[in-house]
Amino acid sequence: MMKYSNTGSKDTRSGFGEGLLEIGRQDPRVVALCADLTGSLKMDAFAKAFPERFIQVGIAEANMMGIAAGLTIGGKIPFTGTFANFSTSRVYDQIRQSIAYSNKNVKICASHAGVTLGEDGATHQSLEDMGLMRMLPNMTVICPCDFNQTRAATLAIAKHTGPVYMRFGRPKWPNFTPVDQEFVIGKAQVMREGKDVSVFAIGHLVWNALSAAEILQEKGIDAEVINIHTLKPLDENAVLNSIRKTGCAVSAEEHMRNGGLGDTIAQSFVRNFPAPLEMIAVNNTFGESGKPEELLKKFGLDVPDIVNAALKAITRKKERNF
């Protein structure tokens, strides 16, 4: 099993920007749309390289989603870019009717997701986006864990036919997965094998889960860490194989508990293998302004929170003789 280490922190949105430029070079059908956040989404390199395939729509996200849906008619592969909030809740009905129900090959790419957006506060910190998108039939939902993986995922979603929602973030964050990885949609990654507790993590919190596993190891606990980079479709085999081995689990996400990864895994557990599950997520509250690390701590998404959740899950397992 390879051991992951930070090769130099980078923002995941820049991984998207690099991936978009590369897939733009590879595939002339790729077009990009942005609603006045080209710099924030790191789409400027694509816009500069392919001005004839870049569409600035202005601050008009509903129109952007409709145009993207229309662009697919005639074979384009549109990538939309704006913040996670404006990519989902602001345009939910446009996505629902013109993209998901119509099954159009649109890639909705969303940055600044979660509380690690930081100082902008709750209006911009989308914590519901994955849940909203996960409810839509035909929609694939992806949240890669670091820069390299976001870059790889951007290439992968262009090659996948059908609507995709991909979320990523703003802050510089440890970059630890291989630069040359192949991203397989719907295939969870076992980042670290273990037998005592499964930690299922998504997005930025995969790194926190790996850090928590190190601390747990010092306590003599052998944690398995699995990166669920594709929330939908869930790699149910990977989840169930792990829980059958460990008997208890923690889910970790920078998202609302309702509708997110823990919710998704709990559904699978209940139907297949009821087992204790501790959920690291934001619970029924809006975010607020602050530094990313302060907010992760405040909302209980930090490394010590994952460690404590794992200990609690193991205690529950022992109490119930799983």
Binding site: V31, A69, L71, T72, I73, S102
Partner: protein
Amino acid sequence: MYSIKELENIARQVRRDILRMVNGAASGHVGGPLGSADFLVALYFDVMQPDPTAFSMDGKGEDLFFLSNGHLSAGWYSVLARYGYFDVKELASFRKLGSRLQGHPATQEALPGIRMSSGSLGQGLSVAIGAALTKKMNLDEHLVYCLMGDGELEEGQNWEALMFAAAHKVDNLIAVIDYNGKQIDGPVNDVLPLGDLNAKFEAFGWKVFPMYGNDMSEVTGTIKKAQWFTGQGQPILLLMTTHMGCGVDFMTDNHEWHGVPPNNEQLARALGQIEETLGDY
């Protein structure tokens, strides 16, 4: 090529289809479809003339049509069937379980002729703009048409789209407003007045043509005139005055027939006013 008289005869049959379909489903909209029937017949049988046996989602090398006000589905389905996209007998399945003719147009059931789901209002113009941009990128010189309701203009997304199309010189697009002045709750002027639409569209940078939509020769003539103005840097809008419920005296200009199905007695009275020209399905 169809003569004006032949086009009018097709529109008569389409109106009969609309009434029978909505009556058969005991649900649906007749007023809007009756009012826009002449336009849709003109567009398919005279203006676009796509090949109904070679439908593809991508629609490369042909004109495209998008229906933004999806509740006009009965009229569109009738025109598609009468034009040859599918058997007219299938019109009897409108709004029934397992039908390809969903209450509002959908792509999920793969009904030939439909490229986008609509029904939730205000989205069609954006979609048509996207399809028009793809045509430009593909160096495909065919046009994109989009029909919208006037009440639908109360949705803000339309104004985002109107702004965008002019700014980006989407000049291979002809949008058509079904300007019947009626919406479900009553006259548009009572619900939310739209003001001077002609002036608004022109101020937004569109080339506007007024058109009376219940006169076949005016419809075909105006669309062809509008086509001459495509490719000149401006999107084009036909402000099409129509009578909701046109063809049936007790439905004409009456908003109460926006979304109410005629019962059997009302259907008989209505059909008595419209000649069966091509044979009922």
